[in-house]
């Protein structure tokens, strides 16, 4: 199981504390409005951008994010206040932990869709396009000059690009992310042993490493577009490269934002060695993002 048991008191079986069911909350409906604005805005914006027409989509999308951030602040403020005033029982804590674990499972499956596409493309689609299996005629009729290769630097349709090397910047980035997972672990042990100094420093180092990673990713994208001619539109290799690294980058960004808020809470003196679900959830998320990167590094860059 993903969860780590903590000594949150031993009132599991005998006495039951009342399970805290919050009273009415305005935040869910605000969040639903935010998602509506984001989805409807994005749906229009995508058309406007690709057609280069003016429209309201972009504004609506931006408004959606503003409302979403407003909602998150309000919702989390409520949750933190409730937590700080001791309304949350050990059972409640388990609900949060299990909820977060299943959320991470769903995220794993999201990445699986893209990894699955990558494997299918490399192992099956490219082989078949070059006449593999029972597709000799497909090959002859469609693109007789096509050669299956990976990275796919020349598509059947003739788009050429260059591959991103595995060494150099990506390797440095891998090291950065792995180290950030280690520093976060030390921040966690600091919290558990009530060494607040270690907690603060290690958390800050983790954040800085995360920011460095993201900065280098941006640099790598610029390098890919400018120097290698590797773009989102340069065939299956570019597609999987940018979609996988891009969604990973978005997850790192989200993880870093979560850690930043955890850091602010640490500075305010929140969290105890026994009770620190928010910290734990952020750490799980960060480690998850790290593991995704390791898979990504192996399958996108190395192999």
């Amino acid at each position: 199981m993903l969860l780590r048991r903590h000594n949150l008191g031993n009132n599991m079986s005998k006495t039951y504390e009342k399970y805290y069911v919050p009273a009415q909350s305005p935040w869910p409906i605000v969040g639903a409005v935010a998602l509506f604005l984001i989805a409807f805005g994005a749906g229009n914006y995508v058309n406007e951008v690709t057609r280069q027409q003016p429209g309201f989509g972009g504004y609506m999308l931006a408004a959606g994010f503003v409302v979403l951030i407003f909602m998150l602040f309000g919702w989390f403020k409520n949750v933190i206040d409730e937590s700080m005033s001791g309304l949350y029982s050990a059972q409640m804590d388990r609900s949060f932990r299990q909820g977060m674990s299943w959320f991470i499972v769903s995220e794993v499956m999201f990445f699986m869709a893209f990894f699955g596409a990558l494997f299918y493309g490399r192992v099956i689609a490219l082989d078949w396009l070059s006449g593999g299996s029972n597709n000799a005629m497909t090959f002859e009729i469609l693109w007789p000059s096509f050669e299956a290769m990976w990275p796919l630097v020349k598509t059947p349709g003739g788009i050429e690009t260059q591959a991103m090397p595995a060494t150099g910047l990506p390797l440095i980035n891998t090291a950065i992310l792995v180290i950030s997972s280690v520093t976060l672990h030390f921040a966690h042990t600091g919290l558990e042993q009530n060494k607040r100094g270690q907690l603060k420093i290690m958390l800050l180092v983790t954040l800085l490493l995360g920011a460095t990673f993201l900065g280098l990713q941006v640099y790598e994208y610029i390098h890919a577009y400018r120097d290698l001619g590797l773009t989102l539109a340069s065939g299956f290799y570019g597609n999987t490269f940018f979609l996988l690294t891009g969604f990973h980058g978005m997850h790192v960004t989200l993880g870093a934002i979560i850690l930043l808020f955890v850091f602010f809470r640490v500075l305010k003196g929140h969290f105890t060695p026994e009770k620190h679900f928010a910290f734990q959830a952020a750490a799980w998320y960060w480690h998850f993002v790290d593991v995704v990167w390791l898979c990504l590094y192996v399958f996108v860059y190395v192999i």
């Binding site: 079986s13 039951y16 009342k18 399970y19 069911v21 919050p22 009273a23 009415q24 909350s25 935040w27 869910p28 409906i29 969040g31 639903a32 409005v33 998602l35 509506f36 989805a39 409807f40 994005a42 749906g43 229009n44 995508v46 058309n47 951008v49 690709t50 609900s95 949060f96 299990q98 909820g99 299943w102 959320f103 499972v105 769903s106 995220e107 499956m109 999201f110 699986m112 869709a113 699955g116 596409a117 299918y120 493309g121 689609a125 490219l126 078949w128 396009l129 299996s133 029972n134 598509t155 059947p156 349709g157 788009i159 989102l232 539109a233 065939g235 299956f236 570019g238 597609n239 979609l243």
Partner: protein, 527 residues
Amino acid sequence: MSAVVTDHEHEHHDHKPAGIKRWLYTTNHKDIGTMYLVFALIMFFIGGAMAMVIRAELFQPGMQFVEPNFFNQMTTVHGLIMVFGAVMPAFTGLANWMIPMMIGAPDMALPRMNNWSFWILPFAFLILLMSLFMPGGGPSFGWTFYAPLSTTYSGDSTALFVFSVHIMGISSIMGAINVIVTIFNLRAPGMTWMKMPLFVWTWLITAFLLIMVMPVLAGVVTMVLTDKYFGTSFFDAAGGGDPVLFQHIFWFFGHPEVYIMILPAFGIVSSIVPTFARKPLFGYASMVYATSSIALLSFLVWAHHMFTTGMPVAGALFFMYCTMLIAVPTGVKVFNWVATMWRGAMTFEVPMMFALAFIVLFTIGGFSGLMLAITPADFQYHDTYFVVAHFHYVLVTGAVFSIIAAAYYWLPKWTGHMYDEKLGQWHFWCSLISVNMLFFPMHFVGLAGMPRRIPDYALQFADFNAFISIGGFLFGASQLIFVWVLVKCARGGKKATAQVWEGAEGLEWEVPSPAPYHTFETPPVIK
């Protein structure tokens, strides 16, 4: 099983907030369950109206009422609405209402998130329905949105479709997380795994499937989006991709998805049959194992939707045999329901009638599924009305009938009043006859080669189609009786007792009818 329902001196006990804010801001699982159910009913009628358009067009050969493009939009949006807007929210509504009461929990585990999951849905479907009014119309590529229909050949509304599916997925995932955590963490002491009602078991497994596959759907719509708008070629062979890749990813989501729409139905039928047969469920443990096996097998059968894409023979054989294997646990279930009724003291109230119809008609859908699973035979059946007949037998007389059965079964618990039994029987018999007029002849026109999703057809299918359309209109009209029953029951009627049904067992039948606003603030003890 008996429960001690200790009453509580909670200050908010049974204090319902008033007005619209009650529904907008609620964290109460019963309120949220009601909203899900009402939403699903509205969507059922909107999606049903689209089906009426389809059947009106197909009443006679030739083009009658609508343009082919609009016909395609109707088939597409009918499918999307019925799957994501009617059946899934209805099951989630039932889960919200019943699971906390069945396991002795105070509410769902994450009540605020629960409300968020619900309120996303009306907005998601608002976007989908608004897209129908865009220039060029709404999505018209079938609910399965195969590439390149949804990429190269689709209209401007595709982006709206993609993002509405994204937020529907967010809603489903949050709902599923809530269900799983509630069942794992909020069971009353003594409610051990193998004491849980089967509805709870089947929903636990459904929620697991949702968490595993809804993100894959999000992934595949994202690839459709980038292929259409941002120049990627995931599903374009010229760029090294493959349109068949779309089908693989989609059906990796899609096949577990069809079990998401039927496993809770199994749970419902497993609750209703023992009540009206006045016997405990036959083979409880085998039901749990059968449900789990079906869920696991559902990840290994997706390519049976794609036999005609030209996959290697070894692949086709693997998917054929795995698919046929699913008949084994499903057969176990049908056997168990029948064995439960064996020598039972049966009565035939409306929930039982729908449950019995479910058992017979769902099994017909299961058998036509077995026929479709046979690869060489599927080459004949693929994309014909035989497929339409198959999945409407499992989804309408399967999933929808079970939802209706559940509504009749638990309605007295929700409203505190008995529904009108006579009207309910009318609803049942009208539905039963018309639904078979509607879908049974589709088997024959399908076997004779009538393709699905086409607004016109060859003349030899004319008589059958006229008959099918009449069945369709009658089935649609029959559902108005259902609304009548629901409204009548919500407004009043004979007082329901706590147990409601003589043979009913379980925690939900030990709280008063209507169930108090807050049940089990302190967990009951289950012996």
